[in-house]
Amino acid sequence: MKRLALLMSLAAAPAMAQEVSIPHTTFTLPNGLRVIVAEDHSTPVAAVNVWYHVGSGYEKPGRTGFAHLFEHVMFEGSRNVKEGDFDNLLEAAGGQNNGSTNTDRTNYYEIVPSNAVELALWLEADRMGGLLDAFNTQKLTGQRDVVKNERRQSYENQPYGLLWETAAAALYPAGHPYSWSTIGSMADLDSASVEDVSEFFRMYYAPNNATLTIAGDVNTAQIRPMVERLFGGIPRGPAVERPRIPVPQIAATRYITREDRVTLPQVSVIWRGVPRGHADEAALDVAAALLTDGKSARLYKRLVYDQQVASQTSSFNNANLLSGDFWVTVRGKQGTQLDSMEAAVTEEVGRLAQAPPSADEVQRVVNQIVTGFVSSLETVAGKADQLNSYQYYFGDPGYVGRDLARYRAVTPADVQRVTRQYLTGKNRVVISFVPTGKTELAAKETD
């Protein structure tokens, strides 16, 4: 947590007046590994966080889910770490670890007492340099079964669990790497081979395609030689080109209905947004919050608080490396006709486009975002992940101050403009999830 160098102002609206930074230093090894170190001695804890610049957005059709399956394999041992010992060694040192995969990147982290930082770095270095030395078919099949159960547990056995996958296929043209979900399909998971793993590792898991962040109770002067000794001998890999695909437009508005074992019908309206880091990202984030975050948020207040015709609303400006989507979802009550929910979404978005929101509305949202920045950086783990994220998306781990400034700069007129530019009257994907046999509840094209 902490040592967020926050310079407080004495002004009356203090949430607006803060500077936020995460003090850190960076260096790059000859093999291309970029290293970020952020000291924070408030608790004797440290986080080691590695981002490999590969995610499901780098996959090929027919090999969907591979980046995530590969993430699982990374925990199964490497040249000097026998199967199971990755976790055994960390637990015996009082550490936690995990990893995650999304469209754009795969991350791995350890959170350890600060006396065990070298162990965490050694484990990361051993698998970056020597995963394939210890790899075998049995490890792949074992983790394939685990991942298939992850898919069953988190998607297939969850109400509305296939929404994300349905949306991906509708929002992107066939072959676009965002047109499939990160978990992948069962068939593709089955066809993943040992050769695929080796090829994938050699292509993407090289030091020059990764960033390593260490945040917490560490001494930068001691960390640097440690990192050089552990990671310096890992050979540089080929340069990996990030996929470069122009943001595709949604060709035509589409209505999709899925029957599911659910009680409450739910509709999602999704527009094309902007990629991460785009100049309009912050204003779209604010627009999403204005619609559904808090009791006075426009769509929530109308449908859930005032009319009480919906059970919940949510919205989300999902901005990623290659593209972005702006989501609004309304879950009804039993028997709710989703046409009326979709109409309410369209009307509230239209209202924002017609007249700018009040300054108070925007201020409330931005003040919540400022608090969110502070609290998300309370842990060394959160801080480390943010530094890697800023490095990947903005090329600058120190971007946090400017990131916050982007939100503080959003004006009511900006919100109106982006709503007009990206949402109202634009092509969209409308996905209804209805109880099995109740397709008449689905939202339908009316024009």
Binding site: M1, A93, G95, E150, E199, G233, P238, E241, V374
Partner: protein, 480 residues
């Protein structure tokens, strides 16, 4: 385009992956962790207001933010009247729906303008109200928190609105196999006579009204039963007048309605039974296995933490290693003791692929039997102890974490010094301790085994493996 480029890159990688002449040899054995850095456990400054409210301060200046947690003992789910399960939880959710003349919307707007986050919820033995705000806005936000706690209006309209929201939530409780299992398991372990066995039903939820909410709040939200914990960039001397002005006027309007703590005897389970609840078409079966566990004040607390870490409390625990890593039948398996004023449940659980449901139950029972029958190895014991003890600093890293730790202690009348002795007490646990508590507190022969899954696919197998007699239960029994 991308595909072509990728193939070229792959060819280059084969060359690059040949061993490079490393400048220094890579160590082939793991580095041994250095000396453990000392951690200073939070040591609160304690004050008391004239109305009986206890105030605890822990000053931590790393971020300009403060977390406040108010613990109201005697207002937990256990304190629900027998005829109205859900009342404590509903009352907590009604607190910020209007207070001291401000409407629900006005309160929400005021808090958002301050960038503050407020939430209230009931746990088993207390209700907690939590506030997070940046330092400069904290005094104003704290006054709103005090209004919400001491002067909620419980407007009729909002009572009706939240009651309807709960009814809608109940209507979909059958959608999720995991949610069905989470209701069925305690209901079958404790039965309706015990508060731990009750759950909010549609019938009871319909009877939630303003009078019951006001009565519960008036009788049970009492300053003398409450502790306000402030953690963060807060100076006790400077903040105490603010706390006094915000909370000093809090009086409980009615006489205490707190019944003398009745001894909640845990039921005994004569023999194990498999209760199968049909969830047609389910891709996985949700499994819950267990029985009444142990109360929070147990002298065996530390041995039980170590025991559970070995059985199902960490990634390398026996249950997760067996069902996930070795068998590949699950995304994860775990276990835990819910320690409350009385003995909450011990639960071992996983979601497993439908086709392996019966085999998974067999493996669960094997692991629960093995921890009783065989001594744990020195290595396994040491790993579990170190995992808990050395991982302790990670549990007191943030202001909300420290607040939460203290709130848990305050709820059960445990001194904050618990945090100073925790590490040594964990490290003192022996293999004999683990064996002894395993035989006392893990009872696979007297367990409730709940399986929520596709009956047509799993029933025959469950009967064939004959771990215990199989009873079919209807989902409507647990999602009323």
């Amino acid at each position: 385009m991308r595909r072509t480029a990728a193939l070229v890159v792959a060819g280059a990688a084969l060359v690059a992956a040949l061993p490079a002449a490393a400048q220094t040899p890579f160590p082939t054995t793991p580095p041994r962790p250095g000396p453990v850095a000392p951690v200073t456990p939070p040591s609160p400054v304690v004050r008391k207001l004239a109305n009986g409210l206890t105030v605890m301060y822990v000053r931590r200046t790393e971020v300009p933010a403060v977390n406040a947690t108010l613990v109201v003992r005697g207002a937990g789910n256990t304190d629900d009247p027998a005829d109205l399960p859900g009342l404590a939880s509903f009352t907590a959710s009604m607190l910020d729906e209007g207070a001291a003349g401000r409407s629900a919307l006005q309160l929400a707007d005021a808090l958002e303008t301050l960038g503050a986050r407020l939430s209230a919820s009931s746990a088993w033995d207390a209700t907690q109200v939590n506030l997070y705000a940046l330092r400069n806005n904290f005094p104003q936000a704290l006054r709103l928190m005090a209004d919400i706690v001491a002067g909620p209006d419980f407007p009729e309209r909002e009572v009706g609105r939240l009651r309807e929201e709960r009814l809608v939530a109940l209507s979909r409780s059958r959608d999720e196999a995991g949610a069905i299992a989470n209701n069925a398991f305690p209901a079958l372990v404790y039965g309706p006579q015990h508060p731990y066995g009750r759950f909010a039903t549609t019938e009871a939820t319909r009877r939630l009204d303003r009078a019951r909410v006001q009565g519960f709040h008036g009788g049970r939200y009492r300053p003398e039963n409450s502790t306000l914990i402030l953690v963060g960039d807060v100076d006790p001397t400077a903040m105490q007048p603010v706390v006094q002005s915000a909370f000093g006027g809090w009086r409980a309007p009615g006489p205490t309605s707190r019944a003398p703590a009745a001894a909640l005897a845990a039921p005994t389970i004569a023999r194990s039974v498999v209760y199968l609840v049909d969830k047609p078409g389910a891709a996985q079966s949700e499994i819950r296995i267990g029985h009444p566990g142990v109360a929070r004040n147990s002298p065996d607390y530390y041995a039980l933490q170590v025991l559970n870490t070995i059985v199902g409390g960490s990634f390398t625990s026996r249950l997760n290693t067996n069902l996930r890593e070795v068998k590949g039948w699950s995304y994860g398996a775990r276990s835990g003791y819910q320690m409350r004023q009385a003995a909450g449940p011990f639960t071992a659980q996983a979601a497993v692929v439908t086709a392996k449901t019966d085999s998974a139950v067999v493996e669960f029972m094997r692991e629960l039997g093995r921890i009783r029958a065989e001594a744990v190895s020195a290595e396994e014991l040491d790993k579990a102890k170190r995992y808990l003890a050395l991982g302790f600093p990670q549990t007191v890293e943030t202001n909300p974490q420290v607040s939460g730790q203290l709130a848990g202690l305050v709820t059960y009348g445990i001194e904050p010094s618990f945090l100073s002795t925790y590490v040594q007490r964990i490290m003192a646990v022996t293999a004999d301790d683990v064996r002894r508590v395993a035989n006392q507190y893990v009872r696979p022969g007297n367990a409730v085994i709940v399986v929520v899954g596709d009956r047509s696919q799993v029933e025959a197998g469950l009967r064939a493996v004959n771990v215990a007699p199989v009873e079919i239960r209807d989902v409507t029994e647990f999602t009323k």
